[in-house]
């Protein structure tokens, strides 16, 4: 190697690589089974042939699953996109205030907000249902969006507060001297610098909301309006369906989150504020 970094130890790196590879294989095994099963004919997608590669590529499972899951897939998109955007935006505003505009008692408020993260969902299910019935949102996707937005505020606030904490306060002071109101400082300075914060909060919220099952099944009883996770569960419960279709359904349900990681992960930009202060 020509450009070894000082202090790097070749042996330690090899050991690390081997360990990581083993872990990767362990984690990818179920994914392998899911992928191969979804492109097999129904009779090969069972416990006996589970590990074998498909003899021929068969799309019937995927077609079958897609036909059943498509409406719920759309529901999930209609749920997850607004919920992610709204909860991240609220988190950004909160984070800005907690990090850069502290007021008397803001630390206590922040701590109590974080407590929200530790409340198990089971505890709040019944109050949620009662509340949504009260405001006439029970059984609707909007109601589910509201639940996810509120439930996401603590974590998105935490993410943005920590992110804004490391943006030098001097640039906000400079903007104040330059005549900007706090709101202008937020929209013109903080938001443009917030891409990494939105990526982290966005990935986190997208994944959590997309994968949620319990809120979905509790808030929306009507199968036509349910998100894909609930529909997938219904799918595997149906007797008439084959394993290749179930696996294909799982694959379809998993693709968006994987895509989000691949696409957004690129924007984990570092050093966005470099050059600002000494």
């Amino acid at each position: 190697m020509t450009d070894r970094k000082p202090g790097s130890n070749r042996k330690a790196r090899v050991v690390g690589l081997v360990a990581l590879s083993i872990l990767a294989v362990v984690f990818l095994t179920p994914v392998y089974v899911m992928v191969v099963a979804s492109v097999k004919p129904p009779n090969q997608a069972d416990a006996i042939y589970m590990w074998q590669l498909p003899e021929s590529l068969e799309t019937s499972g995927i077609e079958q699953a897609w036909a059943k899951l498509k409406p719920n897939f759309v529901n999930s998109l209609l749920l997850v996109l607004p919920a992610t955007i709204i909860s991240s935006t609220i988190g950004a505003l909160n984070g800005f205030i907690f990090a850069k505009m502290p007021f008397r008692g803001s630390n206590v408020l922040f701590a109590s907000l974080l407590l929200g993260m530790f409340i198990p969902y089971q505890v709040v299910l019944i109050p949620i249902v009662r509340f949504l019935q009260y405001v006439n949102l029970y059984g609707s996707i909007s109601g589910l969006i509201l639940v996810h937005v509120v439930y996401g505020i603590p974590i998105t606030t935490l993410i943005f507060r920590n992110y804004y904490e490391q943006i030098p306060s001097e640039i906000l002071e400079a903007s104040q001297v330059d005549g900007a109101t706090p709101f202008q400082a937020f929209t013109r300075l903080m938001l443009p610098l917030s891409l990494p914060g939105f990526v982290v909060a966005g990935i986190f919220q997208f994944t959590n909301i997309w994968n949620d099952f319990i809120f979905g099944i509790t808030v929306i009883p009507d199968p036509a309006k349910q998100p894909i996770t609930v529909a997938l569960n219904n799918l595997s419960g149906t007797l008439s369906i084959e394993w290749n279709a179930v696996m294909a359904g799982a694959l379809i349900a998993a693709i968006p989150t994987a895509l989000v990681y691949v696409v957004l992960g690129k924007y984990f930009v570092q050093g966005l504020t470099s050059g600002s202060v000494k």
Binding site: Q176, V177, G275, V277, K278
Partner: protein
């Protein structure tokens, strides 16, 4: 009108046990260039930030243009500021950094472009207007910070060590340009520096701070010729004034390492009235000449600073046969150089002696002005 007044302005940071700025009383006239100078940590930035509204005032008031602005937000004070650590907007180009305040202030685009262009030209930034701060050197960033203030037309400019990161040549050049520009704009300017040469060359008046307390305000000449106390005497001037502490007074003279310096009658009166037996004697390097052997204050030469036409001889004071740690500087002209290690006698020019109280550090030469 951009006159500024601090009245008993005090700032103690939460959790700290001392006042970063203690009862600052300072009047700055409209259009004046006032320099705040002092050693690191003396409260210069804090004073400036109180004026900007970025730091609350624990007691006292701050006013600009006759208005009490103590409780005003920074954006309502009509000030422009250059921050000690630049504080540039990292995602904006150099041009946008400079135009930001103008955009917020709804200045029409044409005028914006023109003002930014002029500032860029003045600060030698024309080739960099499209770059972001990340792609600039420290000196260039500092000039952008400067430009961001200069494009505006505020009541008061606040500048916190705006030249500290420039190289020596550029610093001298920019110093002159800022002074000239300020005279042309006639905008009140409060300029912070720890460099007393910068303070002396730029300021209409200079305010010296030490440990949060204002020591003296005056024109550079006043500070140099009649320092109010030992601190100002030692701080202003390069090299600073030579100080001999605890010089015993007997009869009408003070004894400086064996050399008797005559004291005027009213000085003696003030020493007597505060019951002191010693004083601090201050002598500027240019007010010492090399005397013949035995005539003057004995020094052992430890170094020579050659400046071409003249030179500074640095020596250690011989006190009662022992070397003292404080360095003495003598300015010599022509060929009067001495070898390191040799002994020289520094002879004070009569009438140029500064005398300070041992007890209070205050000047005793002339009756105190306050």
């Amino acid at each position: 009108m951009g006159d500024v007044a601090f009245r008993g302005a005090t700032r103690q940071y939460p959790g700290s046990d001392f006042r970063a700025v203690d009862e600052l009383d300072l009047d700055i006239e409209d259009g004046e260039f006032l320099v705040l100078v002092g050693p690191s940590g003396c409260g210069k930035s804090t004073s400036l930030r109180m004026l900007a509204g970025l730091e609350p005032v624990n007691s006292g008031t701050v006013s600009i243009g006759g208005r009490d602005v103590t409780d005003f937000a920074p954006r309502d004070r009509d000030i422009a500021m250059v921050f000690q650590n630049y504080a540039l907007y990292p995602h904006m180009s150099v041009a946008d950094n400079m135009a930001f305040a103008l955009k917020i202030g709804k200045v029409p685009k044409d005028e914006r472009t023109e003002r930014v262009g002029r500032a860029a030209k003045l600060l030698d930034l024309v080739d960099y207007v499209g770059r972001t701060p990340k792609a600039l050197s420290g000196g260039q960033r500092q000039r952008v910070a400067m430009g961001r203030a200069l494009v505006r037309k505020p009541e008061v400019f606040l500048m916190d060590e705006p030249l500290s990161n420039l190289d020596a040549k550029l610093r001298v050049q920019t110093r002159t340009e800022i002074s000239a520009l300020q005279r042309r704009l006639e905008t009140t300017t409060v300029y912070v520096t720890h460099d007393q040469v910068e303070a002396m060359t730029m300021g209409d008046r200079v305010a010296v701070l030490d440990r949060g307390t204002l020591q003296q305000v005056g024109s550079p000449q006043e500070l140099y010729k009649t320092p109010d106390n030992v601190f100002v005497a030692g701080f202003i001037g390069s090299p600073g004034m030579n100080l001999i502490h605890d010089a015993p007074v007997s009869g009408t003279t003070a004894n400086c390492a064996g050399f008797e310096i005559a004291l005027e009658r009213d000085i003696l009166g003030r020493i007597a009235s505060e019951n002191s037996e010693t004083v601090t004697i201050g002598l500027r390097p240019e007010h010492l000449t090399l005397g013949s052997e035995g005539v003057g204050i004995p020094l052992i030469v430890v170094g020579i600073e050659e400046l071409g036409a003249d030179a500074y001889i640095y020596g250690e004071l011989m006190e009662r046969g022992e070397r003292s740690s404080s360095l003495f500087a003598i300015r010599v002209q022509g060929e009067a150089r001495r070898r390191v290690g040799s002994t020289v006698w520094a002879s004070p020019i009569p009438g140029e002696t500064h005398v300070f109280s041992t007890k209070t550090g205050r000047r005793l030469n002339d009756s105190p002005r306050r």
